[in-house]
Each structure stands twice: as structure tokens, then as C-alpha cells.
């Protein structure tokens, strides 16, 4: 075992965190509005637009249907276009974010759809605009669900980022392949597994706490 393995470990962990945080942030910022649009344009929504809803729904479904690893490879040309390279941590953020956004949009859509229609009606009856309805009723009422959905999305991104290691993304997945698989270093392998489990547990725990904090139902 090489003497600098703690450094390698920390570096890989930071890379994983960077990929997850960046892809997660993008998925949240793009997925939440997409989820809102999906709910608002659905039939019976506050801004019914059946065709827009169908087209967006189809696109989201298409992305969700493609397995993550396939998407990572298939998006290499696009990644090269955006990040300038297809190798490395930054480059991996592009396909991860693109895969996670539709995923989160669907989760958000489910939570937003669960908001009691009576509440939307109540804000509408006060004279609230569509924007007010979204800001004052839809999002705050769905917040616990939006947060736990986000937790699940982050956990999924952590898994996908490890897979991205297989195509040269760096991070814990990359470390596992280079040391655990190619050099049969069982110690490193076990260490990576423990760190991943800890990471996922922390994310879940934090997410659950937050969701509970905002749940007043």
C-alpha cells in the first residue's frame, strides 16, 4: 500500500463531493421550475397547457428511461462542447446534472401535485396571481416532499458519480477502480465502501431533519 493513500482518499472524497454538490445544485435549480411547470400546465393545473405539458413530459421520460451509465457515455460530445473536455471531475458534472434534473423534476412534480387543491383555490379566491399561488401555496406546502425528494436525488447522484469514475471522472469511484479493482487493494476497497455509506447516511439524515423541520401538517 502506498504511503500517500490518505491523501488520495481525501482528494477522491472532495472530488465526489464537488461533483455531487454541483450536479445537485443544478438539478435543484433547473428541476424545481421544471416540476412546477409540469404541474401548472397539466390538465386542471393553474396554467393549463396540454401540449407543452405533453412535450415536456415526454422529454423528461426519455431521459429517465436511459440508464445512467449509458447517458454518461452518450453525452460525451455535449460534455466536450460545454466543459471543453470529457475527462475529469468538472466534465463529469455536465452529464450528472443532465441526468439528475429530469429525475428531480419528476420527484418535485409528485410532491407539488400532492398539494391540496383547496389551498390553491383559497389563494386564488383571495385574488392571488399564478405566481402568488406558486410562491405562497404550492412550494411552501410541498416543501417537506421537495426536500426529501432532493435528498433522494443527491443519493442517486452520489451513486452515479461513482459510476462516472469508470469513464474517467475522478472521485471515489475512480479510486475504487484503480486501487480496488485493478490492484486488488481490499483495504482501500473497504474504506471506499465505508465512506460512501457514511456519506449517504449523512445526506439522508440531514435531509430527513430538514424535511421534518418544515413539515407542519
Amino acid at each position: 500500500m502506498s504511503s500517500n493513500w490518505p491523501d488520495l482518499f481525501i482528494k477522491a472524497l472532495l472530488e465526489t463531493l464537488e461533483m455531487t454538490a454541483a450536479a445537485g445544485a443544478i438539478a435543484f435549480l433547473a428541476g424545481l421550475p421544471l416540476g412546477l411547470v409540469l404541474v401548472a400546465t397539466a390538465s386542471g393545473g393553474i396554467c393549463e397547457q396540454r401540449w407543452l405539458n405533453r412535450i415536456l413530459g415526454a422529454i423528461v421520460n426519455a431521459f429517465r428511461a436511459v440508464p445512467c451509465i449509458v447517458l454518461l457515455v452518450a453525452l460525451i460530445p455535449l460534455t466536450r462542447l460545454i466543459a471543453g473536455t470529457s475527462i475529469g471531475t468538472e466534465a463529469a458534472i455536465v452529464p450528472l446534472a443532465i441526468a439528475a434534473t429530469p429525475y428531480y423534476a419528476r420527484t418535485a412534480e409528485v410532491s407539488l401535485r400532492g398539494v391540496d387543491h383547496g389551498l390553491i383555490e383559497a389563494v386564488k379566491a383571495m385574488g392571488g396571481s399564478r405566481w402568488t399561488i406558486m410562491r405562497e401555496a404550492l412550494v411552501p406546502e410541498a416543501l417537506p416532499g421537495l426536500l426529501s425528494g432532493f435528498t433522494v436525488t443527491i443519493v442517486t447522484i452520489i451513486g452515479a458519480s461513482a459510476m462516472a469514475g469508470a469513464i474517467g471522472a475522478g472521485g471515489l469511484g475512480d479510486l475504487a477502480i484503480r486501487y480496488g479493482y485493478q490492484r486488488f487493494n481490499t483495504g482501500i476497497m473497504i474504506g471506499i465502501i465505508i465512506v460512501l455509506i457514511a456519506l449517504v447516511s449523512i445526506v439522508r439524515f440531514g435531509g430527513d431533519c430538514l424535511a421534518r423541520r418544515f413539515d407542519h401538517r
Binding site: K124, G127, G128, S129, T132, P140, L143, F214
Partner: protein, 385 residues
């Protein structure tokens, strides 16, 4: 009251400085109501309004005026179109045909943005309260003020006043899930009144409440109506609700108005069949032993059972005593009640006559028919006792 007047500035017709006192709100609300110059006190005017959902005619050619300051009750079986009608009044539902004049303007052709401004002046309360669970009581009541762009310094005072008006001052920072149903509806009422509405719409506001809470909510609505002169349109299933609070009532059936009138009139002399059936459940019923034993034809040895109603001043007449004297019969009272609706008395008796025979039965019927408001032959029953 005096605390307000010191600060009232007639030039700008506004309070020079906000002094938080519940009278302020009332004076201000009165002022807002007076400012609206709706012709001849009509606040809502529906003209030939129809609305269909697919093949279901929810509203069929409804024409209706609501007077300023009145409480109008809407009754009808479920599916009769009550909710659709009330939702037309604030544009939540757009009719297929007809005019919906609210506060002097036809709201049917209004674009969404203008409709929102009209809605800001119409409060609405719901059967299931519809309070935002992620917002505290005070935040819920603040929302209409926020929507109406009331400056935040003013919002706080208004919210305090509103909460004290509905008796919920102590619960301002509580989340709705911690409240009882009655308290939730109180908050719903405070929220509906927040932006000084000229009209309050209530869609079965007490249907989810127990009888005692129902009474307290009704008292509150009645009180608000009297104090603020607020016009209220109220849908209800409960005849007691109607009897205690409403001034006027309309009865809907299959999207049509089948009866309309002052509450006491509709209660004491209902005209439409539906009204009878809706209100009928309210007058006390016969014991089941008699009800199941009733036959339409007279046979030897059976007793005649009649129900008679006396309304208005006739309620004080000793009709049964006169009957006993004049026809020499002995009516047995099976059931009796006297109710008061809007200070109009309604007496109702169910009486039996022991084996009268055909001839006497007819004479009893003729005698009573000319002296009571309403006579109903319930039938004949085998030997009561």
C-alpha cells in the same frame, strides 16, 4: 370609538395614524362599504347565468339579486349546483352564458388580472377551511393583505384586530394543524375578512363542525354581518343554520332556482317539493311504530293521523280546542312543536282521531283546512292505544 375619531382625517379620508383598536377596523370597514356606490343596494346581480360541465347542466338560467347587507342562504341537494353558483360570484367558475355583475361590473368578460382585483374584495370560506399548513395563523390571515399590497406596517395591526374579532388572538403564532376544527374556521373567517371584503362567500362553512361549534361560528357570522353590514352568501345543508342566520333563501334543483323568499316564509310555507323535503327533515318525525303502520285507505277500527301547521299569528289560535268543542271529537297529540324563525312562529301538530269513520274524517278535514296554514293527511293506522 373615540380613539379612532381623533385620528380620522376627513381630508384624505384616511386614518392619520394607525391606533390599534378593534373599533378602528370596524369604522374603516364601514367606510369602505359605504364608499361602494352600488345601485339600489344590489351587490350582486346574476342575469340568465348558465354553466354546463360536459352534458351536466350545473346552472340553468339563474337570475338572482343579492342585496347589500343581507345574508342569503342557498339550499339544495348535493349536485344541485350550489357550489358552482357561489364560485361564479368570484369568478372561480366562468359561466357559459349570462351576466355576473359584482360590485357594479360584469365580471364574466374580465381578463384574469382584473378578475384578481375583484376577488381581492370578496372573501371566501370553505367547508374544509383550506388554511395553509406551512403558515402560522397570523401568516395565513396576512396573506390577503399581502396580495392586496397593504403596507406591512399596517398588516400587523389589521391581523391583530381580525384575530381578536374572531377570538383567536392567543394563537397568532400557532400552526393550523394544532387547532381544533372550530378554531380553524375562525381563522378562515378572519382571513376572508382581512382585505375588507364587500361580500363574503361561504360554501358549507359548518358542515365539518359539531353542532355546538356550528352555533358559535354562526353567531360569529351573524355578528359580523350586523356590525360590518357585510353581505353574506351562505351554502348549507343544515336547516338549523339557515333558520338561525339567513334573511333570505333560494332553493336550487338541477341548476334552477325552484323557490326564493324570506326565510320565515320558506320555512313556514314552503312551495316547492324539494323545499318540503329539505325542510321536512327538520320538523320532528313520527314514532317509527306509527310511521310504518300508516295506510292510505281507511278501514274499520283505524285511527286517522293528520299533520297540521299554523304559521304567523295563526300559531296562537287554539285550533285543537275549537275542533274538540265544535265537532265533539278528541284529538290525541302525537307530536307538537313551536319554532320561531325570524320572529315568525310556526306551530306544528301531529294528531290522531280514534276510529272517526269516513264521514267524520271528512268533516274534520274540512274544518281544519279552513283554519290552519297547512294540512296533511298522513294516513290511517291500526288502533294506537
Amino acid at each position: 370609538m373615540s380613539c379612532c375619531m381623533d385620528w380620522w382625517d376627513p381630508e384624505t379620508a384616511a386614518f392619520a395614524e394607525k391606533i390599534p383598536c378593534s373599533d378602528c377596523v370596524r369604522v374603516e370597514a364601514d367606510f369602505v362599504l359605504r364608499r361602494q356606490s352600488i345601485p339600489d343596494g344590489t351587490i350582486v346581480r346574476l342575469g340568465n347565468v348558465s354553466k354546463s360541465f360536459g352534458r351536466v347542466k350545473a346552472l340553468d338560467d339563474i337570475t338572482l339579486d343579492v342585496q347589500r347587507g343581507e345574508i342569503l342562504g342557498i339550499i339544495g341537494r348535493s349536485g344541485a349546483g350550489k357550489s358552482t353558483l357561489i364560485r361564479c360570484l368570484n369568478g372561480l367558475e366562468r359561466p357559459d352564458r349570462g351576466r355576473v355583475e359584482v360590485l357594479g361590473q360584469d365580471i364574466v368578460p374580465l381578463p384574469e388580472r382584473r378578475l384578481q382585483l375583484v376577488r381581492q374584495r370578496i372573501g371566501m370560506i370553505f367547508q374544509h377551511f383550506n388554511l395553509l399548513s406551512a403558515r402560522t395563523v397570523a401568516e395565513n390571515v396576512t396573506l390577503p393583505l399581502k396580495i392586496a399590497d397593504v403596507p406591512w406596517q399596517e398588516r400587523e395591526f389589521r391581523v391583530q384586530d381580525l384575530l381578536s374579532m374572531v377570538g383567536m388572538s392567543g394563537k397568532a403564532s400557532v400552526y393550523p394543524s394544532k387547532l381544533s376544527d372550530g378554531e380553524k374556521q375562525r381563522v378562515g373567517i378572519a382571513r376572508a375578512l382581512a382585505a375588507d371584503p364587500a361580500l363574503l362567500l361561504c360554501d358549507e362553512p359548518t358542515s365539518a363542525l359539531d353542532p355546538e361549534t356550528t352555533l358559535s361560528i354562526l353567531d360569529l357570522l351573524r355578528d359580523i354581518n350586523r356590525r360590518l353590514g357585510l353581505t353574506i352568501v351562505l351554502i348549507t345543508h343544515e336547516m338549523n343554520v339557515l333558520r338561525t342566520v339567513a334573511d333570505r333563501v333560494i332553493v336550487l334543483k338541477h341548476g334552477r332556482i325552484v323557490e326564493e323568499g324570506d326565510v320565515w316564509r320558506v320555512f313556514t310555507a314552503p312551495e316547492a317539493d324539494v323545499t318540503h323535503r329539505l325542510i321536512g327533515g327538520h320538523t320532528s318525525d313520527l314514532p317509527s311504530a306509527i310511521r310504518t303502520g300508516l295506510r292510505n285507505e281507511w278501514t274499520r277500527g283505524t285511527d286517522l293521523v293528520l299533520r297540521l301547521q299554523l304559521s304567523g299569528s295563526a300559531a296562537g289560535n287554539p285550533v285543537l280546542a275549537q275542533l274538540t268543542r265544535d265537532l265533539d271529537v278528541l284529538p290525541v297529540v302525537l307530536d307538537a312543536s313551536v319554532q320561531h324563525v325570524q320572529d315568525h312562529a310556526l306551530a306544528s301538530f301531529t294528531v290522531a282521531f280514534h276510529d272517526p269513520g269516513e264521514l267524520l274524517a271528512r268533516r274534520i278535514g274540512e274544518y281544519l283546512a279552513s283554519r290552519v296554514s297547512r294540512l296533511e293527511v298522513l294516513g290511517y293506522v291500526q288502533q294506537l292505544a
